[in-house]
Symmetry: C2
Subunit: 305 residues, 2 copies
C-alpha cells in the first residue's frame, strides 16, 4: 500500500530551514522524498513524499514537528495564504490504498499533532469533520493573523484537535484528498488585479470551471494565476490554460510561462499533447515505454515457476 | 538486450490475412506484439513487436514468410508506396542493444529471406550497403510495378540478397534505424495537391525541417500529410504540426486530426505538453509515475542483501 503526502511549509527562503524539515521527513525508513519546490515570493515549500502508511504517518509527524520548531509565524510574510508553519498536510491514496485509509491516517496524525505538539489542527477535504471545512479557503480565512483571536472567540473556528489557541507555529490543516495538480501561470504584466480578475473568471467558486481553485498573486515581479486543479480528468489542464489565455487577451496580456508545483500524473501531459496535436484515439495506449513495461511484466510472469 | 521490429506489410484490408501474419510473429517464444495499425486506404499494416535478439530474428523471418505466402503484389493497390508483401522491416535498438547489433541482425535476416524465401532484399538505413540505399524512397522508386523490370535491367537496382527477379511477394527492404514517429495529419480538404505542397514545404529533402520525411496522399476521403519524424528530439512533433497548420492556412485549410502509427516515445508527448502549456523547466522530471518507479526501484535495492 503506497500513500503520498504533500505537506506545504511556510518557509521558501531559508534553505537551511527547508533542508532540516526535509531531512526530518527523510529520516524515516520506508519513506522517499520525491520532489520539492520552494518559492521565495510565496515563502513556501511544497514537499512530495511517499511510502507505506506507517512510514508516511511518522514522516508527516516529524516534518510538522521540525517546521514548528524552526518557523515563527509571527515573523512570516509571503503572498500565499497560510495559518501555520506546517500549513497544509494532505494524504493521497496511491497504489493499493483507499481514500478511507488516508482519512484514518489524517486523523491519527491530527490527533498526535494536537496532543504531542500542542498545535491546533483542522481536518479538511475528505477528512473534514463538517462540510464547511472541506475547503481550505474557509479554514484559512483571515490567515494566521486573524485566526489568533478568532480561534478563541468564534466557535466555528474551534480546531478538531489540539488547543483553541495559536502559538508561534500557528495551526495546521491535515486532510485526505485525491491527486491534484498545482499549476501556476505567469502573465506579461505586473498588475496583480488582472491575475485576480482571471482567477475569478476561471475558478469554480465564482462561476468558472468545476475543478479549478485559483487566486491572483504577485510573484517574481509578475502577476501570477495560482491554481489547484482538483480533477484533471474532468477539467483538463489545457482547457484551463486556454481559458486563461483568452481572458488575459481581453486585457492585452499574454501568458509568459507556467509552472507545475510538485508532481503531475503523466496522463495530464498525455492528454494535453493529444489535444494540442489533435491525435485521434487514445495516444496513451501507444506510448512505447508503457508497452515495454507490460512486456517486461509479462516476461516476469512467464518465467515464474 | 531488447530489440524492436516494426515491419510494414502490404495488406490493410483483409483482417484474416493480417491476423495470420501477426500470429506467425507472435508464435515465437520471447517475442511480444506491442501494437498494430491497419489502414485500408494505405492498404498496409504496421506491426510493432519486441524481444531478445534471437527471438526477434526468428519472428521477423516468420512474418515475412507468412506475408509472402498470403499477399500477391500483382493484385495489390494502395496509396502508400510499396515494393513487396513484407515491404519494410526495420530493427531498432532498445534497452541494452546497439545499432551495430541491429545492423548485423538485419543482414542475417536479409540473407535468410533471400536464400530461403527467394525474395530480393534491399538493405536500407543504417544497414545500407551503399549511401544511395540509405533512403527508402530511392529503393521504392517506381514501386513494385517499375521494379519488375528495373531489378533485371538496372545494375543500381540489384538486390543485396536474393534473386534479381520479382515474384508475387515482390521485394523487401530490411534495415536498422533509430526510433522514429510515424505521424499523419488529416486536412479539411479532399485536394491531395495541397497535402503534397505542404509535404514539400516541411520535409528535409525539399528544403524543410531536418528530421522530417513527408508525402501527400488521399486517405478516408481527405488529403493526408503522411510523415516519418526521424529524430523528434531535434525536430519536435509540435513544431512540425504548427508548421503544417500555418502552411495549410495559406490555402484556407485547417487540420482536422492527426494519428500516430505504431508507438511513440513518451518524451515526445511530454515535450509537446510542455511546449503548448509553456511549462518552465523540464516537466518530465516532475512526472508522478516516473518518481514512483524510482521509488519502487530504490525499495528493491534497499531490500537486497
Amino acid at each position: 500500500m503506497l500513500i503520498e503526502c504533500v505537506p506545504n511549509f511556510s518557509e521558501g527562503r531559508r534553505s537551511e530551514v527547508i533542508q532540516k524539515i526535509i531531512s526530518a521527513i527523510d529520516s524515516v525508513a520506508g519513506v522517499r522524498v520525491l520532489h520539492q519546490t520552494s518559492d521565495p515570493d510565496h515563502n513556501r515549500t511544497v514537499v512530495t513524499f511517499a511510502g507505506d502508511i506507517a512510514a508516511v504517518e511518522e514522516a508527516a509527524f516529524r516534518g510538522i514537528e521540525e517546521a514548528a520548531r524552526l518557523i515563527d509565524m509571527r515573523q512570516h510574510q509571503g503572498v500565499h495564504p497560510r495559518i501555520g508553519a506546517a500549513d497544509v498536510v494532505p494524504f493521497v491514496p496511491l497504489e493499493g490504498a483507499t481514500m478511507d485509509d488516508c482519512i484514518q491516517l489524517a486523523h491519527r496524525v491530527g490527533r498526535r499533532v494536537g496532543d504531542e505538539l500542542n498545535i491546533p489542527v483542522y481536518m479538511y477535504a475528505d477528512a473534514a469533520t463538517n462540510p464547511a471545512r472541506h475547503d481550505l479557503a474557509t479554514i484559512r480565512r483571515g490567515q494566521y493573523e486573524d485566526l489568533l483571536t478568532a480561534i478563541q472567540t468564534d466557535p466555528a473556528r474551534k480546531p478538531d484537535y489540539g488547543p483553541a489557541e495559536l502559538g508561534a507555529a500557528g495551526a495546521t490543516a491535515i486532510g485526505a484528498r485525491g491527486p491534484l495538480i498545482a499549476f501556476n501561470v505567469y502573465l506579461s504584466t505586473q498588475d496583480v488585479q488582472i491575475a485576480r480578475a482571471i482567477a475569478r473568471a476561471i475558478r469554480h467558486s465564482s462561476g468558472g470551471l468545476r475543478y479549478v481553485k485559483a487566486m491572483g498573486v504577485p510573484v517574481r515581479g509578475r502577476a501570477q494565476v495560482s491554481m489547484n486543479l482538483t480533477d484533471f480528468t474532468r477539467t483538463p489542464i489545457y482547457r484551463v490554460i486556454e481559458m486563461i489565455r483568452r481572458e488575459a487577451a481581453r486585457y492585452g496580456v499574454t501568458i509568459v510561462s507556467s509552472e507545475v508545483i510538485g508532481l503531475i500524473p503523466q496522463a495530464a501531459l498525455f492528454d494535453a499533447a493529444q489535444w494540442y496535436l489533435q491525435i485521434e484515439g487514445d495516444v496513451a495506449q501507444q506510448v512505447l515505454e508503457a508497452a515495454l513495461a507490460s512486456f517486461a511484466q509479462n516476461k516476469v510472469e512467464k518465467s515464474a515457476p
